[in-house]
């Protein structure tokens, strides 16, 4: 009885193998090329990324994973293009089964970039600077690649009352740390001035004037903010 049970299990496993292999059989004749396509700096999805291989194509809008099926095994060239990114081309050797090719697209430009607008907000780490890009119609630019941008700025104490104000004591000058906020829709590029860089007399010096220059591959853009809250407590 024991022997026949072991025998039965072996036969059952072989049977299961047959069922499973039958499910895969048709897929095995071709190759599948899959992987991710993303912005090389931010790792975020690239809107309208068009992936072409051996007469087949697919477009990605909000997701990074792609898949092209039924590709004959052999040498092929994988081509990827997307608005505002450099074209990507890579010769690949497709084998039967799954072939993983991850693609990182490099940004070419921020479309129709005419200038920047900055907004500041006191956060836990320091003064956060939102950098918004605008186009020739004066509208905010939403879809754009990530770039290795740099920013310099100077922060002054704001003196005076109401609209009658002027630049006072210089609090700091120099490069400002930038970071990428993937949760944002309009202002993914942000800067931060840590609180420890802002030495103030908290009783008298509540607001500041910030002047910044953003260096981009498309030129330098300036803007300023005249109502920078100089401490996290200011309401």
């Amino acid at each position: 009885m024991k022997r026949s049970l072991i025998y039965s299990i072996i036969v059952a496993l072989i049977g299961a193998g047959f069922v499973a292999s039958f499910l895969f059989l048709t897929r095995e004749d071709y190759g599948e090329v899959k992987g991710t396509v993303a912005d090389h700096l931010s790792g975020e999805p690239v809107r309208e990324a068009r992936i072409v291989l051996d007469g087949k194509s697919t477009i990605k809008y909000t997701s990074t994973s792609y898949s092209l099926t039924e590709i004959p095994p052999g040498s092929h060239t994988l081509k990827v293009s997307a608005p505002n990114y450099y074209d990507f081309e890579k010769p690949i050797q497709v084998k039967k089964g799954t072939n993983v090719v991850d693609i990182a697209l490099k940004g070419r430009e921020i479309p129709d970039l005419q200038g920047i607008i900055i907004f500041t907000e006191p956060e836990e780490r320091g003064v956060e600077i939102e950098i918004r890009f605008y186009d020739s119609a004066g509208e905010g630019i939403v879809d754009y690649p990530a770039f290795p941008l740099t920013m310099e700025g100077a922060l002054f104490v704001r003196e005076g009352i109401g609209e009658d104000y002027r630049k006072g004591r210089k609090l700091l000058e120099g490069p400002i740390e930038l970071f990428w906020d993937s949760q944002e829709w309009l202002a993914k590029n942000k800067g931060i001035i840590p609180w420890d860089r802002i030495k103030i007399d908290a009783e008298r010096e509540k607001y500041g004037i910030l002047e910044v220059v953003l260096h981009t591959p498309q030129g330098d853009f300036e803007d300023n903010s005249t109502d920078v809250k100089l401490s996290p407590e200011v309401e």
């Binding site: 049970l5 047959f18 499910l23 194509s57």
Partner: protein, 444 residues
């Protein structure tokens, strides 16, 4: 090997195989997916839907215009309805290209997008609609836009007349007051006769035309095809390959009835086969709506309505298409005409208060201003036909001309002495108790 061992082995193999395949078919998370967005003719109107990647076949009624577009959207599985849902509000990107139609692996037609509208002659929520293409599409949209513009002009006029009416009414009240003060005696009838007439609001636009859309129009003879999208750069778009089945009705032009019972008006039933008897019980009112009907394959038709539906290819279903409006319903007993019932509109009035009920009233525009009828039909009162026995009804068009296939037999049964059935059901229990007592006695 013993027979039982072999059986055990086979069962185990099947179970393990199923486990492996189930692992492959696990519900995926939200995914960006290429889908076919559909606006298909279902025999009476246009139904919107989509075919996700998992559905490899699209079903259409042959020789009718059907609009198709190919889009990227977010698709997710909704366990409550066990269906894939599309998030068109979040992502809805149309893919440009040429839709290729293939038969036996050869491209037989390459389709470009065409202008189209769906025209609803009796309003958006009515039962019938028609698709128009090209210049006709624009003409029908213009017709609707013109009618809407005219309606708004009439509305402005109505507001102006209402304002004038209010002013005139106030003046009228003042003058009546002054005349009464002056000693003039005026009866209610006299006052009402001189009262300014309140303007009535203009009638809204009854028909509706959708905005002009650009889609691939599939109007195909009966058959099986394949379809795929060729992008502008000449590549085939991944996941755009689908099978396409254009099917026709098996039988058509016969008459079916939609039956609305008065005591549960939302639970409609139907009578599609003249050879089958309709059973009615108790005191009730039936509202009968005759339709021309077509018979379609169950699987094909259900998949047409929604590619994710399941159906049975061996079954056939009747689909009510065009309502028959200008006919009389004859009620007969043993060939003798008892009643000739006209089609009339009805309004379902909710009863206010804790009763949570409703009553069905004949719709009269003056009684229900600014409301539309809930339904139309031929009212057949069961109580009016003595409550028991066999009757026949049929449709009569024109001068005594009976419409073929409209005859039905209706059998009224009374719900009587139903308590007797409860007593009968207790009988085996009584027998059991008697047997139990007898055995107990014998044992003691």
């Amino acid at each position: 090997m013993k027979k039982s061992s072999l059986f055990f082995t086979l069962i185990l193999a099947l179970l393990l195989g199923l486990l492996v395949s189930r692992g492959l078919a696990q519900a995926p998370p939200i995914r960006e997916q290429l889908v076919y967005s559909l606006s298909v003719f279902d025999g009476k109107t246009y139904t919107k839907g989509f075919a996700p990647r998992g559905e490899d076949t699209i079903y259409l009624i042959a020789n009718e215009n059907n609009a198709v577009s190919i889009r990227y959207t977010l698709v997710y599985f909704w366990p409550i309805t066990a269906r894939y849902m599309a998030g068109f509000k979040t992502l809805n990107e149309e893919v440009e290209g040429t839709l290729e139609l293939l038969r036996d692996g050869k491209v037989i037609r390459s389709l470009e997008k065409e202008d189209n509208v769906v025209f609803y002659p009796e309003g958006y929520f009515a039962e019938n609609s028609k698709m128009y293409l090209h210049e006709e599409a624009h003409a029908f949209l213009q017709k609707y836009e013109y009618a809407t513009k005219e309606y708004y002009a009439r509305i402005d006029e109505y507001y102006e007349k209402t304002r004038e009416y209010r002013e005139a009414f106030e003046e009228f009240l003042e003058s009546i007051g002054e005349r009464r003060k002056a000693g003039e005696e005026l009866s209610r009838t006299q006052v009402e006769a001189q009262m300014p007439k309140q303007p009535s609001p203009p009638e809204g636009v009854r028909f509706y035309t959708t905005p002009v859309a650009k889609d691939y129009i599939l109007n195909l003879p009966q058959g099986t095809y394949q379809t795929r999208l060729r992008a502008r750069d000449g590549t085939i778009v991944q996941d755009s390959q689908k099978n396409l089945v254009a099917f026709v009705r098996r039988r058509g032009g016969t008459i079916g009835y939609e039956i609305t019972p008065g005591n549960r008006w939302t639970m409609k039933e139907s009578s599609n086969d003249p050879s089958k008897t309709i059973y009615a019980s108790g005191k009730n009112t039936l509202y009968l709506r005759p339709f021309l009907q077509d018979e379609y394959n169950d699987l094909y038709y259900k998949k047409l309505l929604d590619p994710q539906n399941v159906g049975t290819s061996e079954r056939w279903i009747w689909v009510h298409t065009t309502p028959i409006k200008n006919a009389l319903l004859d009620l007969l007993s043993k060939g003798k005409l008892l009643e000739r019932i006209e089609r009339a509109p009805y309004y379902v009035k909710q009863i206010p208060g804790p009763e949570l009920g409703y009553e069905i009233l004949e719709y009269k525009e003056e009684e229900f201003p600014e409301r539309s009828p809930s339904f139309e039909g031929h009212k057949l009162e069961v109580s009016s036909v003595s409550g028991r026995g066999k009757y026949d009804f049929r449709l009569e068009k024109g001068e005594g001309e009976v419409m073929d296939g409209s005859e039905r037999e209706i059998l009224f049964v009374r719900k009587e002495n139903t308590n007797l059935l409860h007593i009968i059901s207790i009988f085996p229990l009584i027998v059991g108790v008697v047997v139990f007592i007898q055995r107990k006695r014998r044992a003691s």
